[in-house]
Structure formats: structure tokens, C-alpha cells
């Protein structure tokens, strides 16, 4: 029966073994100190035991060298762990340059995922083995947290801003996806499955299902519908700045401040355009707060991103290889 009880989580991403190695090291260090204290206390309690309560102990008041020693040793050990853990942390939060992008929004009580090729799914995330994947996400209501234990990654989904996690899956199969930040009634039902597939199976999955165009194509459509295109002319002669080549670049504002045009900046510019006006332009853009959903915002961001010279790695996914559609696992695709 014991064999059926898991005691340790699956390692299914490149970062997982890094996290676990550090974990085992700290287990060893803490076990050493715990045993040291327990053995000493037990030994002293037996050796110096006096059941009469009438004897007294030796008048030992302390020792400066010992105090310095047992302050320094824990400090040095702690600093060692700190440096190692911080290194692992920076690996786990800094994605490589080329990643397959996935967008997600959390809302009570489901996770919606959008792939750059236009696939959408709910509480399921299909991804290929061996490729670095970055999930950018936000929340439509309260705080949530996207957590995939097998990959050892987690980040809060915060309404009004974007978070991201990245990982390179190293194992095919199905893995839990949890909401890890309490969000009300059905918090514990806000769970899903990450399905890691061999690259060819993934291509087969991508080619199945009716698509309404890629994510950036949806964004482009919206860009026309919302009349963004009437001001943001691509040649730079419009009333708003041209968006070509903006994403990922530094933008100079009216205030002289320079900001990085990332997903958060694009989002802010759409919802609160008066906050950061680009140098040389009038603050005339109306707010689109309430006119676009979180998912539409993500498609607009993907469109703006596609206008930058650097072709996103994610676009490769759309070059789907022909494969048997029957092999595609069922997903909630619309």
C-alpha cells in the first residue's frame, strides 16, 4: 500500500531538478542541525539528570567564542543557501530569448489559454516536449495563481497586470495545474491539466480543430474594428505613433522618461492612454476600458508584437506539419 503513496513530485521540466537538488541540500543541512540539537539535549538531559531537584548546576554563564561561533556558522551556511537559491530563482524566472508563447486569463473559476496560432482551451494546456514555453497571464477578477508542481513554477495572476512563468518540459504526460491563490468558493476546482506531447503529436494536435485565424490575426481584426488603425498609421503620419517595431523597444514619453514597451505597457496604453503619452503626440486617445476583454487585449498585444521586426519564436508553431488529425487528444477547442 505504501508503494502507492507519492512522497516526491515528478520532475518534468529543466528547472525541476535544479530546484530539487537545492531542496535535498537544505534537507541535509537542516537534518544535521536538528539532529545535533536533539542529540545534545537528550544526552545532557540523561547525563545531568537529577530527580531530587535538590542539586544545583555549575555556574557556567557563557562563552564569547562559542557565541561568535554559533552565530557565524549559521550565518555562513544561510548565505551559502541564499546564493544558491537566488541563482536557481533567476534561472526559473528568466526565460530564454526564443520561447513558444501562450497567453492565459484566470477568472473564477477557470483557466483559459490562447495559443498564438489561435487555438483556445479551457483548463487544459497542450504543449510540446523540449521547447521553452512562456505563459503570460492576468486575472479578470480576483487574485489567482498559476501553479504547475511538476514544473516547479508558480506566479500570481493579478488583475490589471501581467505575470509570466516559463519552463521547458522534459517529460510527456499529463500534469496538474492548480490555482494556488485563494479565490473564493470553487478555488479548489480551479484546476486543470497540462498535456506535454511529443513534437509531432503536438503538430497533429495543432492541425486539428477549426481555427478562426491566429491570435495576432484576431488582434489585427480588432485593431481595425476598434478603429485603432485610423490613428496608429504604420508610416508614422497618424495622430498616434506608429506601432511598427515598438514592442520590446524603449519608448520616450512626454515627460522625458523612457519605458520598455512590453505587454504591460501596451495594456496600460490601451486602458489608460493618458498615463504614458509618447513624446511628440497629444493625449487624445480615448480609453478602451470596458470595451475590450482580457482575452482581446492579449490578442491585441500579440498583434502589436507581430509588428516588431524580430519574428516571434511562437510563430513557428503555426507551420504545422501534416499529421493524422485522429491522433489529436480531445481539448476544449473553439
Amino acid at each position: 500500500m505504501l508503494a502507492g503513496i507519492p512522497l516526491f513530485p515528478t520532475q518534468a521540466s529543466t528547472i525541476a531538478s535544479e530546484v530539487d537538488n537545492l531542496y535535498f541540500f537544505i534537507v541535509a543541512v537542516t537534518a544535521f542541525f536538528a539532529l545535533l540539537v536533539v542529540i545534545l539535549v537528550t544526552f545532557f538531559a540523561i547525563k545531568y539528570r537529577d530527580d531530587t531537584g535538590l542539586k544545583v548546576g555549575d555556574p557556567i554563564t557563557g562563552s564569547i567564542p562559542l557565541e561568535i561561533g554559533w552565530s557565524l556558522v549559521p550565518f555562513i551556511v544561510a548565505m551559502g543557501i541564499f546564493v544558491w537559491a537566488t541563482t536557481v530563482y533567476f534561472h526559473s524566472i528568466r526565460p530564454p530569448d526564443q520561447t513558444l508563447e501562450v497567453y492565459s486569463t484566470g477568472k473564477r473559476w477557470m483557466w483559459r489559454f490562447q495559443h498564438v496560432d489561435g487555438h483556445r482551451e479551457i483548463n487544459q494546456l497542450h504543449i510540446p516536449l523540449g521547447r521553452p514555453i512562456k505563459v503570460t497571464f492576468t486575472s479578470e477578477d480576483v487574485l489567482h495563481d498559476l501553479y504547475i508542481p511538476a514544473f516547479r513554477v508558480k506566479a500570481d495572476a493579478i488583475p490589471g497586470r501581467y505575470s509570466s512563468i516559463w519552463f521547458t518540459p522534459t517529460k510527456t504526460g499529463e500534469f496538474h495545474l492548480f490555482c494556488a491563490e485563494y479565490c473564493g468558493t470553487r478555488h479548489s476546482a480551479m484546476i486543470g491539466t497540462v498535456i506535454v506531447m511529443e513534437p509531432d503529436e503536438y503538430q497533429a494536435w495543432l492541425s486539428g480543430g477549426g481555427l478562426t485565424g491566429s491570435l495576432s490575426a484576431r488582434g489585427e481584426q480588432l485593431f481595425q474594428q476598434l478603429a485603432c488603425s485610423t490613428c496608429h498609421l504604420s508610416d508614422g503620419t497618424g495622430r498616434g505613433p506608429s506601432l511598427a517595431g515598438v514592442f520590446g523597444a524603449q519608448v520616450t514619453l512626454q515627460t522625458g522618461q523612457r519605458v520598455l514597451a512590453d505587454a504591460g505597457y501596451v495594456r496600460e496604453s490601451i486602458l489608460t492612454p493618458q498615463m504614458k503619452v509618447v513624446n511628440g503626440f497629444q493625449p487624445i486617445m480615448p480609453t478602451f476600458q470596458g470595451l475590450v476583454t482580457e482575452e482581446q487585449l492579449l490578442s491585441l498585444i500579440e498583434y502589436v508584437k507581430s509588428l516588431s521586426a524580430n519574428p516571434a519564436a511562437g510563430q513557428q508553431a503555426t507551420t504545422a506539419a501534416p499529421a493524422a488529425p485522429a491522433a489529436a487528444p480531445q481539448g476544449d477547442r473553439r
Partner: protein, 536 residues
């Protein structure tokens, strides 16, 4: 020491209800706190029982999700604000601080009574929130769920926490002034018992930290009631700002909970090792260091909440720094046993329980402070296990150690030593059985605050629930033998443990104004070695 024992003590001087409700005697106020805190503890334990019963099966089958969410919220609110924060300072601190200082009372006896009334009013609001439908935000009240999402009694419960905060501030202020102004002749700072140093450090945190959480909770109430946008992004607020403000108090609050029990441990270890506390000044200053560093680590609760990686790095570093004074205390306690004459009475067994559990709680903090690992274990059962080891394993075990130590002084009667030792061992075993599996569950990835969970987590959860049953029995035992002791216990006499310290120089129970003659202090707090025969 005592020529004759006075027939009048603080308990029998006047037994009318009014004499209790309008008392200005710090010892009676301590008893009043004990009554309310014990009620809160029983309530919190009942909620915990509900949680563990529900989690005995993976399906959400015993109670609805909403009920479950209310159970863990009310468990947290009752235990944190009405048990852990007041348990040692307001009960044992109130009772023994003036006695330890050789004083008649605290500096402001009327303010002390007011603190209790404020505490009761706050508790009443919280109880009202519970009986009129409950609250389901988690004890952390995170917005925007608390301001916009939840349909439960957030404002009422928040008001309860807000009001209770003032009780804490007033108590802290009272203790600080008392320690500065009320020490007996000859009682210099470095002759003070270490419990007094711990209470002083705690009072600093209470006075400086509590106003921040009171304001923060008030902002939640205002945002919820009037739509003022502090935290909700749709109103122009920032939900992460709340987390900064909340943890700026609530992390130091951990030290409000743990510093006084740590001080209590130093008292009991010295008495039952019958020698000086090893490295007195290091233990004393480590309390202050913990109180000060404790204010600089709050953002380690926000490692996955979208803070800058560089600020995360700084807060991780500071968190490791605060580990050092806690390690120093543990090593000094261990060294105190060396060449002592160790008398294994019940309070000492509770101290050993404290040491074991606090050790695990403190050392698992090295995991949660490690950025690379915290990303994985944040908001999982690993964290639940970690803070229960500190708060229940540390604070509550420390309270029981202190309660068993001072029970003869408080009531004038002894209790069954054997039963008290059995209870300590039962609590220790039950506690580990309940919470150790949760470390494994957390590393496996089980998120906290889950009403239902995937079936592969079932075995460890069943073990945890079974352990909670043992733990519950362990806590029932003291209620039984203490009650028995109240009526049938042997007379304790002024100093049943033959302890040093001014509190043992007056009769048990003490006189209404503590001492018949003003005590004068001529030596340090733990000069056992000078008093009696040396070890052979």
C-alpha cells in the same frame, strides 16, 4: 522568606462578579484574558476539527465549499488574533511581569483593564461576524476578493480585528512603561529575567506594528463599503499594495507570537537545569534583534506576487539574517543544560516539546526563505506545516510550558505531574503526526485552502487528520487535570520549584498587591548555583 502566610490573596479578597469585572489587579486581568483566549482556542480548535474531517477524503463531501472556506478563515482569525497574539503576553505576561519586577502592579492598571475590554469588544464583533454567516476571505483578507468578490461578513470581521489591535497597542505601551519605571530597587536591566526582555521586545513590535494593520484592515472596510479604490485595480488601486501593508504588520506579528514563549522557555530551562541561562546577554539581545529585523522581512510573503526579482533577493537575504538570532537562542538553551542538574518535571517536558517543534519550524524556514524553492512551495501545505510548527509547536507549547510552570503560583495548587507529562508527549506526537505529512504534501504540490484535492494526496491527508485527533486529545488532558487541581490539588506553597525570581518570593496565590514588603534585588535572575549545594 515568608514569615507568615496571609489568609487573604488576590483570588479570595473579593469574590463578587463585579470585583472581577472592575478589577485593576494585573493578576485578575490575566485570568480574564485566560477565559476569553481559552474560549477562542476552543472555537478555533472546533473549526480546525471541521477542516481535518473534511480533508479526510479527497472529495468535498462533508461540508460545502463555502462552508469549508469559512471554516479555515474563522480558524485563522480566531487563532491568530485572539489566541496566538495575546496568549503569552496578555495572560502570562500580565500575571508575572509586575511580580518579576517586584512591583505592585503594571504602570497603568486602569489602562490594563481597558485593554481587556477593548479585546472583548473586538472579539464580540468577530463572533458576531461568525454567527451571522461567517467570513470566507482567509485570515489574510486579500483584495480584491475581500473588497469585491466575497459575499460574507468582511466588514464586521475586519472591524473586530481593527478594534482588537488597540488592545494590543495599549498592552505593549503599558508593559514598556512598566519595565522602564517599576523595577524594584537593585533590579538593573541585566538582572532582569529573560522573559522581561522578551516582553519588552514584543511590546516594541506591538506599539510600532499594530497601527499599520489596523489602518490596512480599515482601508479594506472603506473600499468595500464606499468603493474607495485603494486596492482594487478597477477602482485604480493596487492589490499588491495591500499585501505590503498587511505583511508589514503580520510578519512582525509572528514575533509577537513567538518572542514571549521564547522568553518563557528561558525561565523554565534555567529553573529545571538549576543554573544560569547560558549567554544571558546574547539571549536578551537576540530578542531585540529579532524584533528589529522582523520589520525588514515582510516581502518574503510576496515572492510570487509580482514583486521585482531584485527586491525579492534583498528580502530573501534579510530573512536569512533573522534566522541567526533564533539559532543563537536555540544553541544557548541547549548549552544551558550542560552541567546542569536537570529536574525532569512537567514544565521541562513541555520545554523539550517546544524545542523539538520550534527546531523543525525554524529550520523549515530555510526552505521558504530560499527563493528558488519558495516559488514551488509558496501557498502550498509546506507553508501551512511550517507556520503551524512555529505558531502551535512554538507559541502554544511555550504557553503550556509557562502555564505548567506558573500554575502553582496562579492558583496556589499543584497538578498531577504524571498527567501533565503524558499530555506533553501526546501533544508532541499528535502534532508531528498532523503536520509533518503536510511538508511532504506541500512539496508534492498540494495548494493550501483546498476544499477538494486530487486522490493521490489522500493517504497523507488521512494520516494528518488522524494525528489531529491525537493532538485534540492531548489538549483535552490539561483541561481535565487543571480543573481537578483547582479543587483537589495539593497546596503549592510559595515556591514549589525552588526557583529564583521575585515572583517566587511571595505567597501562592499572591497577595492582592503582590508583596508584603518591597523586595530588593542584589544579584542576577538565575543564580541557582550560589544558592544551594553544588553537584557532586
Amino acid at each position: 522568606m515568608l514569615a507568615t502566610e496571609s489568609p487573604v490573596n488576590y483570588l479570595n479578597v473579593n469574590t463578587s462578579v463585579a470585583s472581577w469585572l472592575f478589577t485593576k489587579d494585573h493578576k485578575r486581568i490575566a485570568i480574564l484574558y485566560m477565559v476569553v483566549v481559552t474560549i477562542a482556542f476552543i472555537l478555533g480548535a472546533i473549526f480546525a476539527a471541521g477542516i481535518r474531517l473534511e480533508l479526510a477524503t479527497p472529495e468535498g463531501d462533508l461540508v460545502s465549499s463555502d462552508t469549508y472556506n469559512k471554516l479555515f478563515t474563522m480558524h485563522g482569525v480566531a487563532m491568530v488574533f485572539f489566541v496566538l497574539i495575546p496568549v503569552v503576553p496578555a495572560i502570562l505576561g500580565n500575571f508575572v511581569l509586575p511580580l518579576m519586577l517586584g512591583a505592585k502592579d503594571v504602570a497603568f492598571p486602569k489602562l490594563n483593564l481597558l485593554s481587556w475590554y477593548v479585546f472583548v469588544i473586538g472579539f464580540t464583533f468577530t463572533i458576531a461576524a461568525m454567527v451571522t454567516g461567517g467570513v470566507d476571505t482567509g485570515w489574510t483578507f486579500y483584495p480584491p476578493y475581500s473588497t469585491d468578490g466575497s459575499n460574507s461578513n468582511v466588514v464586521l470581521a475586519g472591524l473586530g480585528v481593527f478594534i482588537t489591535g488597540f488592545s494590543s497597542i495599549l498592552t505593549g505601551l503599558n508593559f514598556m512603561v512598566t519595565i522602564h519605571r517599576m523595577r524594584a530597587p537593585g533590579l538593573t536591566w541585566f538582572r532582569l529575567p529573560l522573559f522581561v526582555w522578551a516582553l519588552y521586545s514584543t511590546s516594541l513590535v506591538m506599539v510600532l506594528g499594530t497601527p499599520v494593520v489596523a489602518i490596512t484592515v480599515a482601508m479594506i472596510a472603506v473600499e468595500r463599503a464606499f468603493g474607495l479604490g485603494f486596492f482594487d485595480p478597477r477602482l485604480g488601486g493596487d492589490p499588491v499594495l495591500f499585501q505590503h501593508l498587511f505583511w508589514f504588520y503580520s510578519h512582525p506579528a509572528v514575533y509577537i507570537m513567538i518572542l514571549p514563549p521564547m522568553g518563557m522557555i528561558s525561565e523554565v530551562i534555567a529553573c529545571f537545569s538549576r543554573k544560569n541561562v547560558f549567554g544571558y546577554s546574547f539571549v536578551a539581545f537576540s530578542s531585540l534583534a529579532i524584533a528589529i529585523f522582523g520589520f525588514l522581512v515582510w516581502a518574503h510573503h510576496l515572492f510570487v506576487a509580482g514583486i521585482s526579482p531584485y527586491s525579492a533577493m534583498v528580502f530573501s537575504f534579510l530573512t536569512y539574517a533573522v534566522a541567526v538570532p533564533s539559532a543563537v537562542k536555540t544553541f544557548n538553551w541547549t548549552a544551558t543544560l550542560y552541567r546542569g542538574a536537570i529536574w525532569l518535571k512537567a514544565p521541562m517536558i513541555w520545554v523539550f516539546g517546544f524545542l523539538g517543534l520550534f527546531l523543525i519550524g525554524g529550520l523549515t524556514g530555510l526552505f521558504t526563505a530560499a527563493l528558488g524553492i519558495d516559488i514551488h512551495i509558496h501557498d502550498t501545505y509546506f507553508v501551512v506545516a511550517h507556520f503551524h510548527y512555529i505558531m502551535v509547536g512554538g507559541a502554544i507549547m511555550g504557553y503550556f510550558a509557562g502555564l505548567h510552570y506558573y500554575w502553582p503560583k496562579i492558583t496556589g495548587r499543584m497538578y498531577s505531574d504524571g498527567a501533565a507529562k503524558a499530555a506533553a508527549m501526546l501533544v508532541f506526537a499528535g502534532f508531528n503526526m498532523t503536520f509533518f505529512p503536510q511538508f511532504i504534501l506541500g512539496y508534492l504540490g498540494m495548494p493550501r485552502r483546498y476544499h477538494m484535492y486530487p486522490p493521490e494526496f489522500a493517504a497523507l491527508n488521512i494520516l494528518s487528520s488522524a494525528g489531529a485527533t491525537v493532538l485534540g486529545l492531548g489538549y483535552l488532558l490539561p483541561m481535565m487535570y487543571f480543573t481537578y487541581s483547582l479543587f483537589k490539588g495539593a497546596k503549592a506553597g510559595p515556591n514549589p520549584w525552588r526557583a529564583t525570581g521575585l515572583e517566587w518570593q511571595t505567597q501562592s496565590p499572591p497577595l492582592p498587591h503582590n508583596f508584603a514588603v518591597q523586595p530588593v534585588v542584589t544579584e542576577g535572575a538565575y543564580e541557582y548555583s550560589k544558592r544551594e549545594i553544588k553537584v557532586a
